[in-house]
Symmetry: C2
Subunit: 198 residues, 2 copies
C-alpha cells in the first residue's frame, strides 16, 4: 500500500512510520519530508494531494493545542487547538477523501486527555474528544468503502521527560505499542473507532 504520513518526523509520526514500514511510505511535514504541507492551510492540503496523486491510506500525526491553566485561558488561546490539531485533521479528510483509493483509510491522532484529564489540558481534551466524534460520524458517510479511525495514544515514553510533572500518575507507553495502533488503522478493518493505547 501507498501510505501518506503527515507529521512523520514527530514522536508519534515516527512511531507510526516505523510500524508501517512494510508499506510504501510517503512522509509529509511542514518543514521536512518527501512533500511539504501546512495542515492549517486548506490550499496547502489540496496542493499536496494534486502533487502526490492517489494513496491507499492517510495517517495524520500532526497538530498543536494550547496548554495552560483554565483560570487564565482565553478564547483566542482555546481556538489554537481547534484551528490547528482539529481543523487541520478534519480538512485533511474533507479534502483528502477524493484522493484516496476505494477501500482506503484515514487514521487520525487524538490523545489521552479526553479520557484521563490533567490540569492545563482543557483545550487538548476538547480537541481529542472532538476528533472521536468526527470519526464516529464521518465513518457512516465516507465514500467508496473508505474507513476512518482515530488513534488515542497515552503519554509516550519518548515524550515523558518533556512533559515531566504535567501528567501525574500516567504510565508512559512505548513507541512500539503506539506504532501498532496505526497498523490496526491502516491494515485492519475497523471504521468509526477510537483506537486507544496507553
Amino acid at each position: 500500500m501507498r501510505v501518506l504520513i503527515v507529521g512523520a518526523e514527530g514522536t508519534v509520526g515516527g512511531a507510526a512510520a516505523s510500524a508501517l514500514r512494510h508499506h510504501e511510505i510517503v512522509k509529509a511535514g511542514r518543514s521536512s519530508g518527501d512533500v511539504r504541507v501546512d495542515l492549517a492551510d486548506a490550499a496547502s492540503i489540496g496542493a499536496m494531494f494534486e502533487k502526490l496523486g492517489r494513496v491507499d491510506a492517510v495517517v495524520a500525526c500532526a497538530g498543536h493545542v494550547h496548554f495552560g491553566p483554565l483560570a487564565t485561558m482565553n478564547g483566542e488561546q482555546f481556538m489554537k487547538g481547534l484551528s490547528n490539531k482539529l481543523m487541520g485533521q478534519v480538512n485533511l479528510v474533507l479534502i483528502g477523501k477524493d484522493h484516496v483509493y476505494d477501500h482506503g483509510s484515514f487514521t487520525l491522532t487524538s490523545g489521552v486527555l479526553d479520557r484521563d484529564p490533567i490540569r492545563q489540558g482543557a483545550n487538548a481534551a476538547t480537541v481529542n474528544a472532538a476528533l472521536s466524534g468526527f470519526v464516529l460520524s464521518a465513518a457512516i458517510e465516507m465514500p467508496r468503502g473508505i474507513r476512518i479511525n482515530v488513534v488515542s495514544p497515552g503519554l509516550l515514553e519518548a515524550s515523558a521527560k518533556k512533559y515531566d510533572g504535567l501528567f501525574p500518575g500516567h504510565e508512559p507507553v512505548s513507541s512500539k505499542r503506539v506504532g501498532l495502533t496505526y497498523v490496526k488503522g491502516v491494515d485492519g478493518a475497523l471504521t468509526g473507532k477510537v483506537i486507544t493505547v496507553g
Copy 2:
C-alpha cells in the same frame, strides 16, 4: 438560586426554563430575554455578566452547527459549529466562571449525534463530543467548587417535525424529560459529566 439561561427562548432552553422555575430565572438571548447576549462575541458575554452581577448557575442552550453531506462539506462550513455552538459555550465558561458564586454550576448543551450519528451530522457530532471533552477536563480545574456538566439530549418531540426524515429510528424525547436533566445539572452534585437523555 439565581439561574441564568442563555437561549431560554429555544426549544431546549424553554424545557430547561420550565423545569427550573422553582429558581429565580434570568433569560438571555440574542434577540429576546431579560438580557441580550451574542455567544459568538466574547465582549458581549463579558458585558452581560457585568450588567447582571453574580449568579448561582449558568445554563447554556444556544448554538448552531452546520448540517450537510460530508461529501460536499468544506472547512468554512465545518468551522460554523466550532465558532458558534462550541466556542460560544466555552467562552461562556471561560468568561463566566468569575461571575458565578462559590459552589455554583455550569450546565452546557450538546446533543445525541456523537453517540448515535446520522448522515449530514459530522459537524454536530464533532461539536457535541468536543463539549464532552471540555467539561470532563474543565471540571478538574474549576475554581471555588464550581461544577460543570453538559446535557446531551436526543431529538426533542417538539423538534421532530422540523427534522423529519433526518433522524431515522431516533425516538423523540419529551421536553419534560429534557428539562429534568437541567435540574440534575443545577440542583444536583455532579461535575465533569455528560448527562444523557433520549
